[in-house]
Amino acid sequence: MIPFSAQLVNLFAALLLLIAFAMLSQRRILSLINLFAMQGLVLSVSTLIVGLTTQQHHLYYSAALTLVLKVIFLPWLLHRLIRKLNVKWDVETMFNIPSTMLIGIVLVVFAFNLALPISQLSGTIIRSTLGIAMASVLLSFLMMITRRKAVPQVIGFLAMENGLFFAATSATYGMPMVVELGIALDVLVGAFIFGIFFFHIRETFDSLDIKHMERLKED
């Protein structure tokens, strides 16, 4: 019998995976940012539950850090950016959403197989979610590959970091605090640089479409 808290975390893990799939198929930038914030919230709550059940106090801080950084600050920054860049209502033309989803399913199966030997070794209550964490990393990766615009690519990048964070919590109850703080700092600085970059790209190419940036290659 799986304890109630573990079931709860499993539920949140499933939500995380669903959101990853939703992001993969979402074409509107605004909804994409909201999905990203939701993913952060799910992550934060599941970290808190793990912390409460296992009495790992540093997980409270991780949960708080996730809440501030990924649910409040980054979505706020992204909302501000898309308003300033005037791409708030942009809809991306993506081809073949069904086949992207099929590739996504294959990736999930692959991730579960890869994670199986590791989660068997793990002693944490939520070890079974490691496969989900890996799957959401791979799905974010797929999202970055399929997108042709700068903002969704960045959201894919940030979602990948969410997946990695979840992997750390489910395999080991989180990394040491100093490392987590360092990673959070990197994400924060990275987000600012992304912001500066969007304006540079817009200034230079008059659009945030990556397809303008395919000139540098070997001939």
Binding site: F157, T172, I183, I193, F197, F205
Partner: protein
Amino acid sequence: MEIFAVLGIPLIGGILLALFGCRRWAPELNSAASFATFAASAALTAKVISDGPMLAWNEQFFVDPFNVFLVALTAFVGFTTSLFSRPYMRIEQHHGKLSINQLRLYYSMYQLFTFTMLLALLTNNMGILWVAMEAATLTTVLLVSLYRTPASIEAAWKYFILCGVGIAQALFGTILLYFAAEKVLGADGTALLWTHLDTVKDQLEPTVLSLAFVFLLVGYGTKVGLAPLHNWLPDAHAEGPTPISAVLSGLLLNVALYAVVRSKVLVDGALGTEFAGNLMMGFGLLSVVMAAFFLSRQKDIKRLFAYSSIEHMGLMTFAFGMGGPVATFAGLLHMTVHCLTKSAIFFAVGHASQKAGTQLIDGIRGLIKTTPTVGWGLALGSLAILGMPPFGVFASEFLILTTAMHTHPWATPFLLVALGVAFAAVFSKVQPMVFGETTEQRLPHPPALIPVFVHLGLVLMLGLYIPPYLADWYRQAAALIG
């Protein structure tokens, strides 16, 4: 306390330059901070040579013969590059390519970049190593796009996204490493300290560590520029300002390789097989061969030498992959001589393309007539990087090849063909640049090229004579790596 001086000076320098980078004396402050960092690293080196390895600040930092030699090298090349960049960036400003605020960004980020590399080298914590490597990307990405041309913005975006994704794989590798270590060392925060991991490496779970190493190698390997993950490297080197190309190529790639080698030591201890070494040899050999064949297709002089960096990083990865005292010694020597030679070449190339107003190989001709010192610097630097005796690159490549013949004879033909192709490609492109006909006038003022000749002089010395204490140091480091 030398460790804190080595880390503190560039950090404070970066903050000061962010505030005062617009002043006329900002370039001098930049050089002074780099010199102070170099002096502190020399003091640290002297201390480690006399007292042996040391730990500091709750074991969060540690110094052993392997990283202290890279710290000294990084601080030294950081200093000479700041000397080179002083007149170079001023001329760029006079040409109207850069505004005063862009220069402020440049000087501040230059110091912070040095800080992140030194932090990556000195930290004992594998997690902080990752944080510092990611921070090194973040500090340089705005420097690659410093000129704000479409090509430079594209290059910087590619650099950002590819290295960001790559390094995310390394984070997953680090998580797996922590997962394996936590079972042995407990979850009290010491489980990511390299010195602790090193003592218990034979108890770490082999299946987890082999998976972790794959992620770590792919992640940090992206930053090393290993094929097929190298796509960002030629663009970033070609489009950024030349001093940044010099430090990216000479220093950052070394630091990333350092991270791979540190991980390899742990994985080798846990697995007791050749798994990690074989993977590194495979990636290394692929990079050497791929880069050699791309060299002949280059039209841009900085791209040409960027591919040459991929080739040499591949050679080093191959050498560390082979393992054993001789190959590791050769790998360390090659790290040193490649770093010195490649940065010297970039200094000469920077001056040449600045004067010609183009980076295209066809646009630069007859350097020996217009600016003899730049011409000689480029000619000698290219000969050195191509492995001509008596330069130090010859010594290290010779050692790598002879070891490969002994232990992995199947790899030797690939290496020899690649080195031959690289020689033909680079030599045939550099030769007309230096000796070709030109209609341009000889320039009245010779450029300041002391760093170029200091570097080449050191490489020449390392080819002819390695001082006993230096050889001893390499041997100790090689013994650590195994």
